[in-house]
């Protein structure tokens, strides 16, 4: 086919209507996730000592950092769903700031770090929090991926990673609001590390699934 014929065909189809601004898409997805995780919390019930925990600055800081990580990851994912994300290159690094703060907080709360304690914690094999974060996150992750697919991501792995990170961070907050486990090492190992794991899984999923618009 000649290029001119292709152009005529494309003109006949016409351009698509403008997609949502990534900020608006992120806010919409945030509202959805707050409702979704709110419903899960409603069924699971808050932890009995939540009122006491809210008076602890470190606990509030931890939940706040997790929320900021999820929020910025959601924004980053929606910006990364655009082909010209290079016009806002700093956005994909934004989630690492609150995430780094959260990691620092975990390390601070675990200090002094003991390899024996770490080994004992590993032996506990508390896989349920990991499984819960992943299972609760499947539906919102599917919704976020669906929205991103409607755009035109070029950096598909990054976009998938940010989407999964956002979902995992909200799952982390859910567990901290409903589970009574407060041991810093267990929280770091069985709540926080799955967040990183999900980001990696999201990266792989993004690389496989987000390229449909280009096919």
């Amino acid at each position: 086919m000649q290029t001119e014929e292709l152009v005529q065909q494309l003109v006949a189809q016409g351009p698509k209507k403008r997609w949502l601004h990534p900020g608006k898409a992120a806010l919409g997805l945030l509202a959805f996730m707050l409702v979704y995780y709110g419903l899960i919390v409603g069924f699971s019930n808050f932890r009995t000592d939540l009122a006491v925990k809210f008076k602890e600055p470190l606990y509030l800081l931890e939940v706040g950092c997790a929320f900021l990580s999820g929020l910025t990851a959601l924004f980053a994912a929606n910006w990364l769903a655009l082909p010209d994300v290079g016009q806002r290159p700093h956005i994909r690094f934004l989630p690492f700031l609150p995430l780094g703060a959260l990691l620092g907080l975990q390390l601070y709360m675990m200090s002094p770090l003991s390899w024996d304690a770490l080994y004992e914690c590993l032996k506990l094999e508390l896989y349920m929090p990991t499984v819960r974060i992943m299972l609760y996150g499947l539906f919102p992750a599917a919704i976020v991926f669906f929205v991103m697919e409607k755009a035109a991501p070029i950096r598909c792995c990054w976009a998938g990673s940010m989407a999964a990170l956002a979902v995992a961070c909200f799952g982390y907050i859910l567990l901290r609001l409903t589970d009574g486990m407060d041991d810093p090492m267990r929280v770091a190992m069985w709540y926080f590390m799955p967040v990183g794991l999900m980001a990696v899984v999201g990266m792989m999923a993004g690389g496989m699934t987000l390229k449909r618009v280009w096919r």
Binding site: T3, K16, D84, G86
Partner: protein, 196 residues
């Protein structure tokens, strides 16, 4: 342009004009969209030439880039640079092409031109290499066989084959590459026998 916040820092006049055409196209102006796409052709050709040099495939890649720009036209936000958006997409299609190209180069893509001679060779009573290739072609799946004939005997480009068969260009290229690999693998033991 009244009512639109143009961030004119670092945007040249051409960028602003293209962005305005795209804004009108997104609002439903078909004429603006036609003018925009026609204006993009020489820009993209220059871009492809600077990236890939003067290649026979440039027309295919140009069409792929135009198609990609069309399919992702909804993601352009008129507050941002149009050229940066467009070149991001074009760069992505160039990388796509190079990825596929270097995969094919590993199996000696140019060697398969000789398949055309074998396929077109007349059938004779004496068993010749043309008949061998005909038999090997029959063992291919029907779609792959059709693609090989269309590309190597009828001399259609990948884009033309894709249009006729209702497939994407990349799917045609992948299917052709697999078919050539199969033919080469089947032909190698026979050539070694003949050499002995």
């Amino acid at each position: 342009m009244a009512g639109h916040q143009w961030k004119e820092n670092n945007l040249d006049k051409e960028d602003i004009e293209l962005a305005e055409k795209m804004r009108r196209a997104q609002a439903g102006d078909g004429g603006a969209y036609a003018a925009l796409l026609k204006e993009l052709i020489p820009i993209l050709k220059g871009f492809l030439y600077s990236r890939l040099g003067n290649r026979a495939d440039n027309e295919d890649i140009l069409q792929n880039a135009l198609l990609a720009i069309h399919r992702s036209s909804h993601t352009y936000n008129t507050e941002r640079s149009f050229k940066a958006w467009m070149f991001s997409i074009a760069e992505y299609k160039v990388k796509d092409f190079l990825r596929a190209h270097y995969r094919h180069a590993a199996v000696g893509w140019d060697d398969f031109d000789s398949v055309k001679d074998f396929i077109a060779a007349p059938v004779t009573e004496e068993r010749g290499s043309g008949e061998d290739v005909q038999e090997m072609l029959k063992e291919l799946p029907e779609k792959s066989r059709r693609i090989v004939y269309m590309m190597k005997v009828d001399d259609f480009s990948a884009a033309e084959v894709a249009e006729k068969l209702g497939m994407s260009v990349s799917a045609v290229k992948v299917a052709a590459h697999r078919a050539y690999k199969t033919l080469l693998a089947k032909g190698r033991p026979k050539r070694n026998q003949d050499a002995d």
